[in-house]
Symmetry: C2
Subunit: 155 residues, 2 copies
Amino acid sequence: MKLNSIDIKLLALLQEDATMQIADLAEQVGLTQTPCWRRVQRLKESGVIAKNVVLLDPLRVNVGVTVFVAVRTSIHSEEWFERFRATVSLIPEVVEFYRMSGDVDYLLRVVVPDIAAYDKVYKRLIAGNQVSDVSSSFAMEQLKFTTALPLSYAR
Amino acid sequence: MKLNSIDIKLLALLQEDATMQIADLAEQVGLTQTPCWRRVQRLKESGVIAKNVVLLDPLRVNVGVTVFVAVRTSIHSEEWFERFRATVSLIPEVVEFYRMSGDVDYLLRVVVPDIAAYDKVYKRLIAGNQVSDVSSSFAMEQLKFTTALPLSYAR
DNA sequence: TGTGAAACCCTTTTCTT
DNA sequence: AAGAAAAGGGTTTCACA
């Protein structure tokens, strides 16, 4: 789907606050309700807008600690990968999971309340999977976290 | 704010889909509209629910490439940190930014369309900041990404 | 493709148990 | 605290330019 500058504006606004009303959105982008509504609808249907979710305050649900886990493996078979992928994806504390280039094979972001809780997740990670090296790095402070993607490259 | 099991259920549902209607939410948690609405309201007011946003498909807005950037510095002064923090936070391609323990001082997640675009962000990162070492790792594949926090630790 | 107004449905309030 | 019902408001549709 091709995006024009009004679409980009709408996406920028909705990425920050999805509770905005159509009338307000319309005003911000210089349209009236109906055409604005139709555009937002198209953005949803086309899949550019993938989801509408609520973001929780990590501290208030007691997962203030972020750990980055770098995993190296010696086995590089398809079966191993599928198994690893399946088990890791199901762990709710793992909120991000990437296959990497370079010396680290996989990178995970894990959220937990404390180090003790992390140790349990760690054990679950290595249980049943042949991982040759796991290295955990703790985040001391989250300086920025946004779900808003940059829109300067959209076309 | 203390969360009971109904609150947890509501948070779980809204973390996945914030467009759910109060009537449907109410049914899922075994309440009628009014008390359900009041609970959701309380969750918003108390800040447990921090935001309601739309998530975009990264590929459809042309930022399919994720790069993790590990930054080391030799200077550890407060001024340097504030300056670095301020400049990095303002870069829209930087979607996550952590101060780390261990040998890496800062970790960034950057989203861009391609390597050429990353190079521009890289130059912006090192310009004006005395960083002693920057190491970039490219994600080949995003195996999991969720904004839904685990709720088993909430209390 | 944009406009204005009406219809509809969900949210929010009020009253009651 | 929870429920039922009514009031209020936003979204969605429709006819038209």
